[in-house]
Amino acid sequence: MAKKRMIQAINETLDREMARDPKVVVFGEDVEISLFGDTRGLKDKHGAHRVRNMPISETVMSGMAVGAAAAGYKVVCHMMFGNFMYTGFDSIANQASKLRYMTAGQIALPIVYMGVFGGGRSAAAQHSDAMHPMFMNLGGIKVALPATPADAMGLLRSAIHDPNPVVFLQAAGRGGEQGEVPEGDHVVELGKASTVREGDDVTVVAIGAMVRPAMRSAQNLAEEGIGVDLIDPRTVVPLDREMIFGSVRKTGRLVVVDEARDMCSAASHIAAICADQCFDALTAPIRRVTVPDVALPYSPSLEKALLPNEGSISDTIRRLLGKAAAETEEA
């Protein structure tokens, strides 16, 4: 094991997979110089024909990924900010996520649409969305949201070689965070959740960047005698329903933490399927900690108030257990 930053883990994985498989190509806006660092140095090592800067043309870019993948390449299409995937949405929604099915599986479409997501940096509404719920409803595209450098490495490796398109969302504010990463090849299967921490009182399902504040919440609540079973789905499509159901059946309580707006969020979907499948095991209502249905504001004071954090997660759990909400300081 070695400590690595998430962005470094992604960079090394891209490098390793490009070295391993000459069919892996990377293209997108400014991938040569690399704004975030995830594609930095790849052009020098793997050649200008496999690492290509695109014009700012998301509409053609998302479709080019489909064409190049259909023609045999494993395409990493870097869309920079996840919000820009809206600009290139047609080919993601109508082509990439549909063509395998519509052609009865005639082709593989190994595409990774990569971008950063989420708030917390005063990037304002057009650079701060958590857009994974939108992809969840397309039917035909996988969605990975790594919370740790090790998972970023393992999930990205799986995503690159998966015959289906995958949206790979890196938490914008988390690229610099460090974590232990296994030496050598590390693979995380898409669709396998991880139990981050075990506990008997309440299940907390936290998505993407929400795993870290949920973990801090769980650590603090343990001192108050509350045991949190913390689950990180790692991918919301496919969703590891069985691991979530198993935990909810064990604890009888569920809190879902999601950085998306509440309406039709991953949180609301997970709440719905648990209500459907684990109703008899529930001893309390299901709670969601999400973002209100507004655009994320710019000013730090406003933005901070809207995003889930350790304090809001802990208070939700305490109330659920019939304990008074503490005046928790925000993390």
Partner: protein
């Protein structure tokens, strides 16, 4: 590009081959039109009738290693690129034996083994997909090309500008073939399209040429120049083939439209310029085939169409108990 040379020399066999391919598309589609009217086809059908010279003129110069992407009006391109008529018919009938096992239908016929990325229900979608396929072909270095067929309606999608820009910059072996058939669905092109579509390549510095899309030989010559340009690593081209949509936007339109969007005289004028009789006359005038030869082609195609219908009608619908979700994350 220069204009088409007048001294074209295609062999008798080639000329009859062009005729056969065009007639094959025509007769298959006439059958589909009849079947749609009779209520035998579950979804919408958009026919290519009148535009066959474009698909055949271009695709007759491509191999299975070359890629094409087509439009919602895509049966003709599929057949011209070597697609099987039985599998096509079964797909349009929604049967399990269709080339997409009934999951795509008329607007989504595809056969990747023949380089047919497929018809597409989103206007202009093939433009970006073929640009990507051309990038793949460039990386492969085999000289393969990609052709995007799209209509005058799709030329008004912004993606054409984006694609021309990147294709010129990267010198991609892609040929953008705009079939200007006069209509964006139910709107005459002149009411929704500014300037000349062919001119849209100019500011990017892409090769461009307008051609009579009802003249098989002219299309063939024009496409030959664009394909050679692409295969030799010189980049993209835009061809505007001027043709006419003899049928409606969609076969069922008479049942829901309450007014006309074109005159009967206009339709009649273009039917008089139908590309198939024009080619037949050219072949006969040049003595490259006899009436008996053409009759034989007609008979062969009639048999193929009958066989395709029989195959489709005799095939089962896909069973929802075993199919329906099995190609999701296959």
């Amino acid at each position: 590009m220069s204009t088409a040379p007048s001294d074209v020399n295609f062999s008798d066999e080639q000329m009859l081959g062009f005729y056969r391919e065009m007639l094959r598309i025509r007769r298959v589609e006439e059958q589909i039109g009849k079947d749609a009217k009779a209520g035998n086809i579950p979804g919408a059908v958009h026919l290519y009738i009148g535009q066959e010279a474009v698909g055949v003129g271009v695709c007759s110069q491509l191999t299975d290693d070359d890629w094409i992407a087509s439009t919602h009006r895509g049966h003709g391109h599929y057949l011209a690129k070597g697609g099987d008529s039985k599998l096509l018919m079964a797909e349009i009938y929604g049967r399990e034996t269709g080339m997409c096992k009934g999951h795509g239908g008329s607007m989504h016929v595809a056969d990747f083994s023949k380089g047919i990325i497929g018809a597409n229900g989103i206007v202009g979608a093939g433009i970006s997909i073929t640009t990507g396929a051309a990038w793949a072909a460039q990386m492969d270095g085999t000289g393969a090309v990609a052709v995007a067929f799209f209509g005058d309606g799709a030329a008004n999608q912004g993606v054409l500008g984006e694609a021309l820009n990147v294709a010129v910059l990267w010198k991609l072996p892609v040929i953008f073939v705009c079939e200007n058939n006069g209509f964006s669905e139910f709107s005459p092109s002149s009411t929704v399209t500014a300037g000349k579509i062919v001119d849209r390549a100019k500011p990017y510095g892409a090769l461009h040429e307008a051609v009579d899309g009802n003249d098989l030989i002219a299309v063939h010559q024009c496409a030959a120049r664009a394909i050679r340009h692409a295969r030799t690593g010189n980049g993209p081209s835009l061809i505007e083939a001027r043709t006419y949509r003899q049928r409606g936007h969609v076969e069922a339109e008479a049942s829901f439209l309450r007014s006309k969007y074109r005159s009967d005289d206009e339709v009649a004028e273009w039917i008089a310029r139908d590309p198939i009789p024009a080619l037949a006359k050219r072949i006969m005038d040049a003595g490259q085939a006899s009436q008996a030869d053409l009759d034989q082609v007609e008979a062969d195609i009639a048999a193929e169409v009958a066989e395709a219908v029989k195959f489709a009608e005799g095939s089962p619908y896909p069973d929802p108990a075993t199919q329906g979700t099995n190609f999701m994350f296959a």
